[in-house]
């Protein structure tokens, strides 16, 4: 093949690199819009250098008060931590139990349409609102303390796990369901013989992950008085006990770190 027979895809010499957004106008337009947006919004929020600069000495002051961390009141710390762990455990357990029926109902290939739609609506609704909002509601109904926190975490866990279960079931190869149905098995037997073996490993993995996530979230619900170590933290902040706050923060980080480590190890073991 001579070079004159090779067809070229470009009419002009040179070449162009492939970009994610092909149209140069759109590309540069987006960058310009982004810049304008940053400047405008920063202006409306009264973000200016003076506030930033004022913050620096306060930050320095705060950090100096944080160090060294005060582990003196460690029994309060441990109590709060244990409460958080127990909240996370209880919430994960009940979340797992509740997520099973909700997840099954949220699978379009298993249940009739109205049931499916209702379950999915419930899942979406429970995921929309931040857990602090849900925590406040539970605090209003049940009062301060870990009960409200556990309930909030149960709602969060259930919606998360059930969404995973529903998606897992819908992604199953449909043939297996057909085959078990063709033997004359009833719905419960279908669940136990076909659905469970396929979804169990992922279900357990997701639940363990959720256990770890619940420890993190329990710190947050504590801020509105729903128990756990978050409550201890919020109290220390409001009393300006920053050295105690740092101790608490360090504990939280360590706990979450350890939890993640254990959870990924267990999940790998389950695989």
């Amino acid at each position: 093949m001579t070079s004159s027979e090779i067809t070229t895809t470009a009419d002009t010499p040179g070449w162009n690199r492939i970009r994610m957004i092909e149209n140069p106008n759109v590309r540069y337009g987006l960058v310009v819009i982004a810049l304008i947006y940053i400047l405008w919004s920063a202006g409306t929020l009264e973000m200016n250098w003076t506030r930033l600069l004022n913050g620096i000495p306060r930050a320095v002051n705060m950090f100096s008060r944080m160090f060294p961390p005060d582990f003196g009141r460690w029994n309060l710390l441990v109590k709060g931590m244990l409460e958080s762990i127990q909240m996370a455990l209880a919430a994960s357990l009940f979340g797992m139990l509740l997520a099973i029926p909700l997840g099954i109902c949220g699978a379009s290939n298993l249940v009739p349409k109205p049931v499916y739609l209702a379950a999915r609506a419930l899942i979406v609704l429970s995921r929309t609102f931040h857990e602090i909002i849900i925590a406040i509601f539970f605090v209003k109904i049940f009062g301060f303390g870990p009960l409200a926190g556990v309930l909030t975490l149960i709602v969060a866990s259930t919606s998360f796990i059930s969404k995973m279960i529903a998606e897992d079931i819908e992604n199953m190869t449909p043939g297996q369901l057909e085959a078990i149905r063709a033997t004359g098995a009833s719905f419960p037997k279908l669940l136990i013989y076909c659905i469970t073996p396929n979804t169990l490993p992922r279900f357990l993995g997701v639940s363990i992950y959720r256990l770890d996530a619940n420890i993190r979230h329990s710190t947050v619900v504590g801020i509105v008085g729903a128990g756990g170590i978050g409550q201890v933290l919020a109290a220390s902040f409001s009393r300006y006990d920053y050295d105690f706050s740092l101790a608490i923060l360090i504990t939280i980080v360590t706990l979450v770190f350890a939890g993640e480590f254990i959870s990924s190890w267990v999940r790998n073991y389950l695989r």
């Binding site: 919004s41 929020l45 209880a90 929309t128 978050g230």
Partner: protein
């Protein structure tokens, strides 16, 4: 074939797990139940509260309906502020998370020490919730949206950094090898070999986190870090349930829109 030979060849009992395995499994169940009981019992939950819970909940819902639409005007500014906080925070953290992600991936970091530092930063950022960061920054910068933006940024670093670092570690090494073989410098290998592979993940993660940050920004006001959360908190404390329901409806709408936008953009990217 004799009867015993027949029985041996076609046994009438079959078990999936050996006796030892079965014992271990039951032990596992027992331990799990034990832990669960410990967790629930020590919490000292007042179970009798559940008896009239449904009445209380129904009472609450009747008080929240219908939503107070007059409240809309007061809503608008904090709502926009919320969106600003989320967006600016995401943009801000994008530029920090990006290099830290490269530090935290085994194949792009300088040595084990830098890798550890990178990972440490990511874990710390992830372990502390946005709202807790908010508490911290309110103490530094005082109440207002600035604290909120920093809080969103600091939390997002861990989220985006982790996902991008995982993507960097999962790239096709063959591409990197090929570019190294041409004699390119480290930086060029980064730009031509690694970056094109992870760019979709980077953009996708940023949009994903933005969507999550919208939800987070709605509650930052509870600790004084700006946004619609302040309004929500005050309305709840004043028992103005109809205002509360309007705010919740608005939040619902904004979250839906942001999820829709985020899903659409991520669809286009992949």
């Amino acid at each position: 074939m004799t009867v015993s030979e027949h029985a041996k060849k076609y046994p009438e009992i079959w078990r999936r797990f050996s006796p030892t395995e079965t014992l271990l499994r039951y032990l596992g169940y027992l331990v799990t139940v034990g832990v669960a009981v410990w967790a629930v019992s020590f919490l000292d939950l007042p179970w009798f509260y559940f008896l009239d819970a449904h009445i209380q909940a129904l009472d609450l819902f009747t008080r929240m309906w219908p939503p107070d639409f007059e409240f809309w005007e007061t809503l608008m500014d904090p709502l926009i502020e919320t969106i600003h906080i989320a967006t600016l925070g995401t943009i801000f953290s994008f530029f920090i998370a990006f290099p830290i992600a490269f530090l935290s991936a085994r194949n792009t970091t300088f040595n084990t020490a830098t890798w550890f530092v990178g990972r440490f930063i990511l874990v710390t950022s992830r372990s502390v919730n946005t709202v807790v960061w908010g508490l911290l920054f309110v103490a530094i910068f005082g109440p207002g949206p600035m604290a909120g933006i920093w809080a969103i940024a600091f939390r997002s670093i861990g989220f985006m950094g982790k996902l991008v670092a995982e993507a960097i570690e999962e790239i096709d090494e063959g591409v990197v090898e090929a570019i190294e073989a041409t004699g390119a410098s480290r930086l060029q290998v980064l730009l031509f070999g690694i970056l094109p592979q992870v760019l979709p993940v980077i953009y996708g993660t940023a949009v994903y986190r933005w969507d999550i940050n919208i939800r987070e920004s709605t509650v930052l006001g509870f600790v004084g870090a700006g946004g619609i959360g302040i309004l929500l908190y005050s309305s709840i404390n004043q028992f103005q349930w109809q205002e509360v329901s309007l705010i919740l409806l608005t939040v619902f709408g904004v979250v839906l829109i942001s999820e829709f936008v985020s899903a659409a953009v991520r669809q286009r990217i992949s």
